[in-house]
């Protein structure tokens, strides 16, 4: 029998059980709180109530396990890896587990784990404890049946065995188990005994994906549903003045043309998840998507300027004014950078620039809404169901109890689906027309009315004394908001005695928000290229420069410093060994970087070669410490995706404005990375038994840095600005 280790995570009353009318046992549980005293367990499987429970586990009379969870899936495999934690401790074979995406009823709704890098880390203990508690109940039920002590019984792969070797399947004892008292503080498995965690589990929706079954928001249909296409202002800073819908109404299939915005604009400031301009919008309602799109094209609207129509040049000017000025908020300060710069032998200062970026989720924004006298029914891809449902209730003056929100699979998120502007629009339209309706954005709508990663500029200054970095000053100029949380305390904070992070921003009417690995997606490139350049200037080995710096943070008692020097050393050493960095190959130029963000430590080496004098990224070697790897196939997929995404946006991502209007609106004017440009990714994990950390984001930021450094090695010139393709130094060809 495997040994159980006591859980540090002691909670009471987080779990309830019931016997299902249709047979089997139902377990309802909460991840972070005890169940409410009044929370009642359903006995009908079609009436699961997610307002009192985060998720449910059904164990059938046949011993099959179904996990019902409303957690969304955004390509990060959370829907697979989180149930694996339950299955592990419940001790059932993964093949017996089925995962069903639940719908969300919103009354007293407790916080769900949204998909994202944090999910797996936060769910690690509570999900395993749920599985372990359920297993113990089944064991207790079997022991009672046999009239033996539970400690004489073991459970493995869905079967309970007693000392005599008699066995009972989980399904055989579910009825009794559901009636038993719920045991508290059940121990958890020793990681060395894991049988599900650490094994490959393919995407739970894979069969549906490869056969084209309806899964995504855009695939959802309801009886009598009509389609809506929304005309929004063509430029940021403009508002609707008037419109003529004569031609639109003449388009076959067009049912109605309405104006929305009044209700939404009245509450738009109330929650951070709503990021949108204040203009009213014109909506064409039609029988089919195509007719709605055609109707919208036929609309004639006039717009008036309401605030500055920003161009990229204007934004650059504003950001440089911030960098060159002295109005900053200080986010971290150690020692005295000013004094240290004055005493330094050499001071190096560089400025790094990044453009706006749209998210470009492959599935454009869309949402279904149906508003009736009794309820508000919403279905679609959204990452923030809780505040969204609340905002819809507030906007429509409805009781939150009447709002039912169901989440579908999402065709990409990257941060865009944290913002609910498109859900609010769908709800306002449905409220006006009182028909079931799907709001569908075209790619052009999606790209030109986004919630963008804003343009950011960094200026970094370092003072060198006796060959050591003694001072470091980072300034951030951003749009609308600055870096948040612990980012100012990431590496190299704690490694340099005089250290300062200053931030400033200006307010723009362009809607901005989180984009995969917010801030670090560009900061990593700036800082890591800077260190590479310092290594070159001070004639040090770039790897050794990092390792020397890391020595200084060891043993820190600063709680804000959450990266670990030891874990960083591990990933660095691993990637150096596996990439052959110390044994360079003729014609292959390698760029090294190491980065910590989103609780995960990563080091990368990019291989660049010259083809027709053009640098080409061939391969990226990556070493990752994400604690225990729950689902290796899912983990590798996320790591590869993050790197390819980082390479793509670093190389090509560019989004400009002219008088408030985006200059790109579809994939013919916005370049995304494609097959031939995607490097091969070779992943190496640092093996340990620490709690898992997320992988959706942390490999993206260092990829931009690694390739820029490798391109520098190949061409001899440095890049300070993204996209690299437009700012690449020409190779000095001799002869």
């Amino acid at each position: 029998m495997s040994t159980l280790i006591p859980s540090k995570f002691s909670r009471r009353g987080f779990l309830r059980t019931s016997t299902l009318a249709s047979g089997g046992m139902l377990i309802g549980f909460n991840l972070f709180n005890a169940c409410k005293p009044k929370a009642e367990m359903p006995v009908d499987i079609s009436k699961l109530n997610y307002s009192d429970f985060n998720a449910f586990i059904k164990i059938s009379d046949e011993g099959m396990v179904t996990i019902f969870s409303p957690n969304p899936e955004i390509g990060q495999g959370v829907k697979t890896s989180m149930p694996m934690l339950i299955a592990e401790e419940l001790d059932v074979p993964w093949e017996h587990v089925n995962v069903v995406q639940g719908e969300l009823d919103t009354e007293n709704y407790t916080r769900q784990l949204a998909g994202g890098s944090q999910s797996i880390r936060l769910g690690w203990e509570p999900l395993r404890q749920t599985g372990a508690t359920a297993r113990q109940m089944l064991v207790n039920a079997a022991a009672a049946r046999w009239g033996v002590d539970a400690s004489e019984c073991t459970a493995s792969k869905g079967v309970i065995t007693n000392a005599k070797g008699e066995t009972l399947g989980y399904g055989d004892v579910v009825k009794e188990a559901a009636m038993l008292e719920i045991p508290e503080n059940v121990g958890l498995k020793d990681p060395k005994d894991f049988t599900v965690i650490g094994q490959d589990a393919t995407n739970v929706d894979i069969d549906k994906i490869v056969t084209g079954k309806p899964l995504f928001g855009l695939d959802y249909k309801a009886e009598g549903m009509v389609y809506a296409s929304v005309l929004r202002p063509p430029a940021f800073g403009q508002v609707l003045e008037s419109y003529d819908d004569t031609a639109a109404r003449a388009v076959p299939g067009v049912i109605d043309v309405i104006k929305i915005g009044a209700k939404l604009n009245a509450i738009a400031e109330k929650n951070w998840t709503i990021q949108m301009g204040s203009s009213e919008k014109v909506v064409v309602i039609a029988k089919t998507t195509w007719q709605a799109i055609k109707g919208k094209k036929a609309l004639q609207a006039t717009w008036t300027d309401d605030s500055t129509l920003e161009s990229t040049e204007y934004q650059d000017k504003k950001l440089f004014e911030i960098l060159n000025g002295d109005e900053f908020t200080t986010k971290r300060e150690d020692g005295d950078v000013k004094k240290a710069f004055a005493e330094a032998d050499e001071v190096i200062e560089r400025t790094y620039e990044s453009p706006f970026l749209p998210h470009n989720c492959m599935e454009p924004m869309n949402f279904y809404a149906n508003v009736t006298a009794e309820k508000v029914h919403l279905v679609g891809p959204i990452q923030t169901p809780e505040p969204t449902a609340e905002m819809v209730a507030m906007m429509l003056g409805r009781d939150l109890k009447e709002v039912k929100l169901e989440m579908t699979r999402m065709g990409g998120g990257f941060g865009r689906r944290l913002y609910s502007d498109f859900v609010m629009e769908a709800a306002e339209i449905a409220d006006a027309i009182r028909k079931p309706v799907k709001m569908v954005s075209t790619r052009e709508d999606d790209m030109t009315t986004g919630v963008y990663r804003p343009s950011i500029k960094y200026r970094i200054k370092a003072g060198i004394k006796n060959g050591e970095i003694t001072s470091y000053h980072l300034k951030e100029a951003a749009i609308n908001v600055n870096m948040y949380g612990l980012i100012p305390h990431f590496f190299p904070a704690g490694c340099i005695p005089n250290y300062k992070v200053d931030v400033g921003n200006y307010k723009s009417n362009i809607t901005t928000g989180a984009w995969r690995a917010p801030y670090t997606n560009f900061l990593s490139f700036a800082e890591q290229s800077f260190f590479d350049e310092i290594a070159e200037i001070t004639e040090k080995d770039p790897v050794q420069l990092r390792l020397d710096l890391l020595q200084k943070v060891k043993g820190t008692t600063d709680e804000k410093i959450q990266y670990s020097a030891e874990r960083m050393e591990d990933v660095i050493n691993l990637v150096v060994e596996k990439s052959g960095l110390k044994t360079p190959k003729e014609g292959v130029y390698q760029g090294f970087c190491a980065y910590y963000c989103h609780n995960t430590h990563v080091a990368q080496v990019a291989d660049v070669v010259l083809e027709n004098n053009q640098p080409v990224v061939k391969k990226v070697h990556v070493a990752v410490d994400c604690g225990i790897v729950v689902n290796p196939t899912g983990a590798l997929n996320q790591i590869e995706g993050g790197i390819v995404d980082g390479v793509g946006h670093g190389m090509y991502g560019d989004f400009k404005f002219k008088e408030g209007m985006p200059e790109s609106n579809n994939y013919n004017s916005y370049r995304l990375i494609r097959m031939k440009e995607a490097p091969e990714v070779e992943t190496h994990f640092v093996e340990n038994t620490l709690a898992p950390t997320g992988l959706g984001e942390p490999t993206l930021p260092p990829a931009m840095a690694a390739i820029s450094i490798a391109i520098t090695k190949a061409t001899g010139g440095r890049m300070y600005k993204q996209p690299f393709i437009k700012n690449m130094p020409k190779k000095q060809v001799i002869g």
Binding site: T211, E640, A678
Partner: protein, 153 residues
């Protein structure tokens, strides 16, 4: 508005649609076959790829009027039980991330392998280059096409 007889996945469907309606929307809105995806509407991303007389074609650029008498295959009809070698390879390699682009990738790959059953690495890359995967699953897409070609032979 006119009536078109379209042969899709071996069955003839009679569809009433405006003349300029792209096949993509005929499939999705008129026939409830939502496996074929909308990504860009301008032939740039490949999410909407179907087979027309065996060739991978962008359904967002084709109008119903052009398609009478042609054999159209969509992801729903690629195989009876989801066991086409390309679908099998996709499952084996666990290709999808968000999964949205994958129907288009699979349709491109299957038409390509029909014409070139034993492609080399560069040929696979060229064939798949026109299909965008925003999640960046290119390493696995490549691997799955290679595995499917082995299954074929």
């Amino acid at each position: 508005m006119a009536t078109y007889n379209l042969k899709i996945n071996g069955q003839t469907h009679s569809v009433e649609a405006d003349d300029d309606t792209p096949l993509l929307w005929v499939l999705r809105d008129h026939l409830d076959m939502v496996g074929t995806k909308y990504g860009c509407g301008i032939g740039q991303c490949g999410a909407c790829t179907v087979h027309v007389d065996g060739s991978a074609t962008r359904s967002c650029l084709l109008q119903a009027a052009q398609l009478e008498g042609k054999e159209i295959t969509t992801i729903e009809g690629l195989s009876e039980n989801g066991d086409h070698p390309v679908q099998q390879a996709w499952k084996e390699v666990d290709v999808p991330q968000c999964g949205y682009c994958q129907a288009g990738q699979i349709m491109t790959a299957s038409a390509f392998l029909d014409k070139n059953p034993n492609p080399n690495t560069e040929e696979i890359k060229s064939a798949m280059h026109a299909n965008i995967c925003r999640c960046g699953a290119y390493n696995r897409i490549h691997k799955a096409v290679a595995i499917a070609s082995e299954k074929n032979s």
